[in-house]
Symmetry: C2
Subunit: 331 residues, 2 copies
Amino acid sequence: MNIIQKPSKMLLAALLFGFFSTAAFADPLPSWNNGAAKQDILTFVKAVTDPNSKDFVPQAKRIATFDNDGCLWTEKPVYFQLLFSIDRIKALAAKHPEWKNTQPFKAVLEDDMETLLASGKKGLVQLVMASHAGTTTEEFSRIVKDWLANSKHPRFKRPYNELVFQPMLELLAYLRANGFKTYIVSGGGIEFMRPWAEQVYGIQPEQVIGSSIKTQFELRDGKPVLVRLPEINFIDDKEGKPVGINQHIGRRPILAFGNSDGDLQMLQWTAAGSGRRLMGLVHHTDAKREYAYDKKSHVGKLDKALDAANKNGWLVVDMQQDWNRIYPSSL
Amino acid sequence: MNIIQKPSKMLLAALLFGFFSTAAFADPLPSWNNGAAKQDILTFVKAVTDPNSKDFVPQAKRIATFDNDGCLWTEKPVYFQLLFSIDRIKALAAKHPEWKNTQPFKAVLEDDMETLLASGKKGLVQLVMASHAGTTTEEFSRIVKDWLANSKHPRFKRPYNELVFQPMLELLAYLRANGFKTYIVSGGGIEFMRPWAEQVYGIQPEQVIGSSIKTQFELRDGKPVLVRLPEINFIDDKEGKPVGINQHIGRRPILAFGNSDGDLQMLQWTAAGSGRRLMGLVHHTDAKREYAYDKKSHVGKLDKALDAANKNGWLVVDMQQDWNRIYPSSL
């Protein structure tokens, strides 16, 4: 045997089988403790990707959808997008002297969170319209990126997009390595997530689904722009999630993860398909490393969806028990 | 030299370079005559995919959008979806005796196309609502598939989804082989196209963008369904096309093809990005093999977009001159 020839045979073998067998030996979910949750995920992925399995799903149909707030990143003390809105209102206040005496803007400018939250849905919609509309789509993307680069979480003193869950990053990457398309399906703003989702989650803009305001095509000095209008286009929450999934994807997910009652209908919709599927909830049980909340929380309330998960045998991930690490960087 | 070892070296080389060099030698666009149009496409794709080119575009940003009616398939004598609506109204007529005396339904039932078209946008919207709403999304998908399986084009006596343009099928496949994501961006109904677009065009449901009616999530006997409502959700035409592209993709295409004034804004939006891009129009110039029409046509009117193409140097494909074949099967 000619030893010079040997490497090419080995290289050939490596090319054909190497990546897969290496991946099979390494733990794809190192931040997940060995236990039932991790095992459920590994078993499911093996079942739907093994061509010899009765549960095999062709690659094109491996659609996985994830809520964002509280599922892929932290959502406390309040949704980060609300903090963005507040900062944006403050930045725009000089041009709107009337806000000093008009709710809910007055409450924002006076850091009066109680009055702000008491303004209810109507007040929050007003806030979103004033803070998210009036720019072109390209300008808004820059504004979001600038805000993320220049603001920090009040408790963890880190940029918000560092407060993403390392175990979920691993899950997303593991699914993609197994031929899944990973989607965000969030009540949050689609244009608020897209500017950073690709870099942080590896999720491309076309795989981000969220709430939106209307946009309008205009020619400005002959140059086409899309202008963001103060008018709701779509609310991608609760009953809206299956609608958004159908509108954007046109296929039913075979895996869906959420963490609150806003995700119940997405999980029901996913569960109702034929063949093997995985429905999961992230349960925030770790006050020390992150936050602990469920049925009584105003932000990310997890009540009916938790009951449904327990009733239907969906996976409930116990953050404290199942995750040995919360964030990518130690805090 | 050991001759037994030789194949593995060759196989290795084939694995590394084979597919690409083979593809480079075969003509990826055999139904396109050699000429300026074909050359423009080949030159563009080479420029944006060659890592050493100043015009190189990373794979994730290679977004290509195509109109459907008149661009990927025939749209005469009228949009095929209108023919579907008419057949559907006739199928539902027994349950709606009032239609016998109500326009535009009366015109449909009497095959009075003149009165139907005279009912204008309002009449057509009524027609779409009555023929497209009232079912679940899954039922509607089956209805579309059944209709395609059981109806034929009045002139060509072929199923409608065989009246797709072979040169465009080759272009779609060629772009995908070069790392592009190919999208449909059509004024036609998103749920009307999705049931067959994957099989016919190789375009997955999540890459089909179109007009839509609203849907509503409901639990029926505990089973979640999406019900199609008689209410417009989005019109993906003219100024709506860039809006739809932004909503669904969140990136600007680098290549866009249309064939009518309904595509003008999509082409403008595509052209306005930075870096090299390709904007194209299919010009229907072949009355013998397909149809010939442009500025004066009610269906697929090509007027302002043709002027814009000529002014801006966009590619205008002359169906008669540039295509040596129109449909996949000879007719």
